[in-house]
């Protein structure tokens, strides 16, 4: 599976200024909801795809439109992680997306990580 741009764009150095810039950059997505068009939103789509929330093979994760499948993914993500279900990228949801985390998908399973020893 290709590395999501969202992840590859993350910090390359451990300086506090980079750390704060990273969060500042992603503030643009705050409170975006179905119908919103936000530059860079495709990174969020790739995040949801990577962690198993956007699974349709036909779905295009490269545009910046907050569409119905993304809304469904946000709702699924919020319910799966014990967040308030709002369907939008509210503060708690965006904070959760930006938080460092385990690479094992939450929904479904990665064929690579869910393997049986032979």
């Amino acid at each position: 599976r290709p590395e999501p741009e969202f992840a590859s764009n993350q910090l390359t150095e451990t300086t506090p200024s980079n750390y704060y810039y990273y969060y500042y950059y992603h503030n643009r997505f705050l409170n975006s909801r179905r119908g919103s068009h936000v530059s860079g939103l495709s990174e969020i789509k790739k995040y949801f795809h990577y962690f198993g929330y956007l699974t349709s093979q036909d779905y295009d994760v490269s545009d910046d439109m907050f569409d119905a499948p993304l809304e469904s993914a946000v709702i699924y993500y919020q319910s799966k992680l014990g967040l308030q279900v709002t369907g939008k990228l509210d503060f708690d949801t965006l904070s959760q997306i930006l938080a460092p985390r385990c690479g094992v998908p939450d929904a479904g399973s990665s064929p690579a990580l869910h393997a049986t020893k032979n």
Partner: protein
């Protein structure tokens, strides 16, 4: 608590012993091996205290049931790491036994010593990843160690009731385990 599809677990006779080893080639240099070994011993003991499974370190990495290593970027398992923060590590469902940590993180065993704002507590991630090795997937319970995220400079090493119930339903209960002792520990760590 949540299981992987098919509810895989280590299918050995209970009580069972699993060996673990550290990769001789894929380690980090700024933490001593003794600190890393001690940290993992502590992480394994958290699970050991609640289920009838023993974890024993072995020098024979090739034959260890659980293989631990620090890897950077694309390391050949189809799930490349991404640099500082983002993805911290991953591990495989039973009975694969692979536990991979992102070598790019600023791993810490003591926040008094490691002052970086992006330092990640090694034991917390180790406890979480061992949960995957045992068959637990991500939990929606925020206080659980199997919750998927961990912020920098945060330590979360005590198993919650959710973690304990999940793993005990896979392997049974350690005869020496009592809920009261576990909950006392949990309360003191998470007031």
């Amino acid at each position: 608590y949540v299981y992987f599809p098919g509810k895989p677990r280590w299918a050995r006779r209970i009580p069972m012993t699993l060996t673990y080893g550290f990769s001789p080639d894929y380690m980090i240099r700024y933490l001593s091996l003794s600190d890393i070994r001690k940290t993992f011993k502590g992480a394994f003991s958290k699970w050991e205290s609640v289920i009838p499974v023993r974890f024993v370190e072995t020098d024979d990495y090739g034959f260890a049931d659980i293989k631990i290593g620090f890897y950077a970027g694309d390391h050949g398992d189809g799930e490349p790491f991404d640099g500082v923060l983002g993805i911290l590590g991953h591990s495989f469902s039973p009975e694969s036994g692979k536990l991979h940590l992102d070598a790019a993180e600023m791993w810490a065993v003591d926040f008094q010593v490691e002052k970086s704002k992006v330092a990640i507590d090694l034991e917390s991630v180790a406890v979480h990843e061992i949960g995957h090795l045992l068959g637990l997937a991500h939990s929606p319970v925020k206080g659980a160690v199997m919750y998927p995220s961990l912020k920098p400079r945060v330590k979360k090493v005590d198993l919650s009731l959710d973690d304990i119930q999940g793993v005990q339903s896979l392997y049974g209960t350690n005869p020496n385990f009592t809920f009261s002792s576990s909950l006392e520990s949990d309360t003191s760590a998470n007031p």
